[in-house]
Amino acid sequence: MFDIFEQLKQTFTGESGHGFSGGIHPLQNKRTASQNIITCPLPPLLIHPMKQHIGEACQPLVKIGDHVLRGQKIAKSQGYLSVPIHASTSGKVIKIEDHAIPHPSGLGMPSIFIVPDGLDAADESIHPMPNYRSVDAVELRERIRYAGLAGLGGAVFPTFIKLVQDKQHPIDVVVLNGIECEPWLTNDHQLMLEKSHEIISGMDIIMHMVEAKQGIIAIEDNKPDAALVMQNTLTEMGLDQQIRLQVLPTKYPQGGEKQLIQSLTGKQVPAGRLPIHIGVLSQNVGTSKAIYDAVCLGEPITERVITVSGDALAKPNNMRVRLGTPMRFLLHQCGLESLDDIRLIHGGPMMGELMRSADIPVVKGSNGVLAMWDKSVKQAHHEEEPCIRCGDCGEVCPAGLMPNLLANHCKQEQFDKAEDYNLFDCIECGACSYVCPSHIPLVHYFRFGKGQVAQIRREKTFADESRARSDSRELRIAKENAAKEEKRRVAREKKEARAAEAAKKAAAEAAATESETTSSAEKEEGQP
């Protein structure tokens, strides 16, 4: 029924013997599990937003009317935390303007619109590099950056940044994340079934690059077929000595990087630090496959696998889709005729966001799109009732927070208290909102709180800078005035000294002339 000693240990130490603390078991609804990946046809229009990763937006390299090839770089990265964007097929650039992207704000992003010419001619400027073991890690890293890779699990953190050798923090373990804990989504599952060789080769490339000795592939026990295939492939490729497969009990949000690391190694990533600081590097299986494509085949990222599902969809599918394909086209391919009474979710139901438009394109971070009946979404977003302080939210929180108290502080805009209750350790997994009997949108309050605190910090920085500027200006003016004053004083003193000297001189002269005159007078007197 329940293991009291295990729970007691967890209560007092915050650590549990197996897995991470907290977590939930939501309804899986994996309708598309073990369904073969089908290739989505080319859409009539591709839309490439200039930002599909965490970091700086890209700068377009093409003009309206340009003809582009598949895999051609059409936008260059800006700054370090950024990766370039490539055309998904050959065709003509028809316009560059703002377009809706999957983002909760609903704000647009400059995007390049391409009409495919149907030839799908590839840009062959990058050469395949099948013998990656003989290639230097720096060159591989540059290639992965060039290929535009960002975490395909959904976080879209530029991949090349993680793939670095740091003498201070050597990487002991490379973790391959095949957890896919979000309900409904099966794209990673299916990818593991169909592309196990590519995925494991990609992992081998990563391990070669960071010189890691050990690798772990993590899969939840709701995907036994994927675990079997991966294990067989490991043995086949002769990598089962370095890389081991770990099957974990299914629990949401195990796919979260920090939670997965805790489940596998028993160690927690210290607050404010990165997995690399405890010698761990983790990558999603999709990213690993994309690394293989980029290195061994010389192909930048132009397509990905996405789960198209939801309770309103007649023919849900796992699809290989060109980046930039509008969601409307995708859903149409899966038998969705009308969007009446339907809400679209970009991503999974736990962390995905409701889409404001069906014309949003598939981007690098799109792991799923769900078409849900309006009533089922409404059911999940029931009217908020007062908190009865049951504490269920705290029990399921994988970060060890007290969501009910935290939400109260955010609601009452007591942000200093919210920060004291570790607002910024929230990973927004949604487990608390999922179990709340009062249907309180806890995650919503945390996002609000985080946004407000960020705003307050920005304003404070701005005010501090202004104050510092004004202070330094006053200081400078005071200094200048003092200098001027000093100069004047010195000048005055000099003048006075000179004047005094002159007066003295004059007096002496006067005395001299006087004596002269007297003596001359005397002389004169003496010389009658």
Binding site: F12, T13, V269, I345, V377, G391, D425, H444
Partner: protein, 352 residues
Amino acid sequence: MIFLSSPHQHSGNSIQLTMLSVIIALLPASMVSVYLFGWLAALLITFCISACLLTEYICLKVMQQNMKRLWDGSAALTGLLLALVLPASVPWWMALFACVFAILITKQLYGGLGHNLFNPALAARVVLLISFPLHMTVWIIPMPAEGVLDLYNFSLCFTFFFFGPEAIQQTWDAITMASPLGYVKTELSRGVPVHEALNTYQYSTLNAFIGREAGSLGETSALALLIGGIWLIARRTISWHIPLSYLCTVALLALVFNAINPDLYAPPLFHLLAGGLMLCAFFMATDPVSSPSSSIGKIVFGVGCGVLTWVIRTYGNYPEGAMFAVILMNCAVPLIDYYFRPRVYGKTRKKG
């Protein structure tokens, strides 16, 4: 269209479901009380639930709140809990006073559901005990012998409930007795050792366990309460932290002191089965609103309740300390919540 924040999936749990589960878990204890005290118990339970719902209705109406709140189950649960901690001999006006106090003063004046500092039913019970100590420390003899008071006669019970013992030609002394806790306390004050007092009371552990003894309606049967409580824990409506730490603390204290001086201190099993301890541990102390949120806080709360219960029972003026203990610990909840937080991922535990 409104664009709501994730998650877009929900467990389906609700306040109503939570309250309903607790009410269901109280059914065994309620049935035992009806078996022991007949129509008196049935009347009191119905009366208290109706009175609480009516008070809640008036409060919501006056404060212009959403009337759906009436059916969230919390007022009905308060009524049921309150009835179960009252003696069967309580007259209707006293029960009414308790219901109004529970809903109006302890709950609605503090801001309604989720904002009350004290457990409403328990606070009302404590107020009654302090205001009417005589009425609240005598107990109807359960399943009395022929000819004393036929508890299964509806009209007799009805008359007694609304018009008192005089209306049915009875005196308080003839139909009531002391509870084991009260009896032992009185005997101890006269210098009689615990085991002798228990002998003269004809105390039997088995009777105390299944509930054939004097006490409030629902607190006599440890068995019925355990069935309900364990069911609640199994379906995770309540967590095990408070009941377990509470009961263990009482048992441990009783064990140690009983070992030191068995004449002065009652044995652990007597403490566990007597009075309102079981009911308080599983249904009162676990009230989500008035108990701490975190698991570690719950353990601290349970231990605190246990220590206070044993101390009040042993050294206090009143024979029973469970209710006072929970009410006192309710006051400490904001402090516990502040100082006992769970350990945050990737951080060392921080206190306060």
